[in-house]
Symmetry: C2
Subunit: 146 residues, 2 copies
């Protein structure tokens, strides 16, 4: 059931392998949604009982992955930091919970190949869609603010 995401993902072979990069890759490959640099850093601190990890290394590794096109970086409204996701071929869209900030992937892109009569004189190369609201857990807790 999780074969689509797990089994096929491999560390890219046009990037120098280091322990740090492999660790970041492993986390992103196993993640179900985008992670922040801090998320990654904290998880690495736990799993890495040996050497130390620097926050700056996380950012640098992510920058390399993004530059090579293996990682997508995004900054949802409401949160003031960036989130990173391993690129699994086709783009993804998310429903972002206004309370816990979890990003829940949509099952498909609501646009597909529909011709958008968007702005004139504009060459569209991509798009980003986020739905905002409350996830199952948060919507039942009733303390919905703003």
């Amino acid at each position: 059931m999780k074969r689509d995401n797990d089994a096929e993902l491999q560390f890219p072979d046009n990037i120098r392998r280091t322990k740090q990069r492999e660790e970041v890759f492993r986390l992103l490959a196993a993640a179900s949604g985008p992670m922040s640099a801090v998320d990654i850093y904290n998880q690495l601190l736990q799993s890495m009982t040996d050497g130390n990890f620097a926050m700056s290394t996380v950012y640098r590794v992510l920058a390399v992955f993004e530059e090579k096109g293996y990682v997508i970086k995004s900054a949802p409204s409401g949160s003031d930091m960036s989130y990173y996701e391993w690129c699994r071929g086709q783009h993804r869209h998310y429903a972002v919970c206004l309370k816990c900030h979890r990003m829940i992937p949509l099952k498909r892109c609501p646009f597909e190949n529909a011709a958008l009569d968007a702005a004139e004189d504009f060459t569209i190369t991509g798009h980003k869609l986020e739905l905002y609201g409350y996830c199952k857990g948060c919507s039942t807790k009733s303390n919905v603010y703003k």
Copy 2:
């Protein structure tokens, strides 16, 4: 032709009037698209020949406007700062130029009231859509990167 945006916009009467707030309001009301706090600050420095304006005041005024629901704050991908727009009733979507970062408003929301079979167990309260690409001026300059 510009009546829709200009003539009807008025300073909200449930907010204390100060010169600074009126100035920020005036700029946002006259703007054709979202402005950053720095944009606002710079324009204010020019028009305000008398007193001084503090960057922090701009942020505080914007925060009040947003809190009261008069201003929408957004953070497009590619830029690392937020943009603010006076809320004109219905929400807007934008085409964001990857080069000059201009945000060009779309003529209509591509969703309208279509039922999105989005994520299950998720209560949608809003959404955000951005198209990325190149505006007329930038696409003809051919130096398209990334």
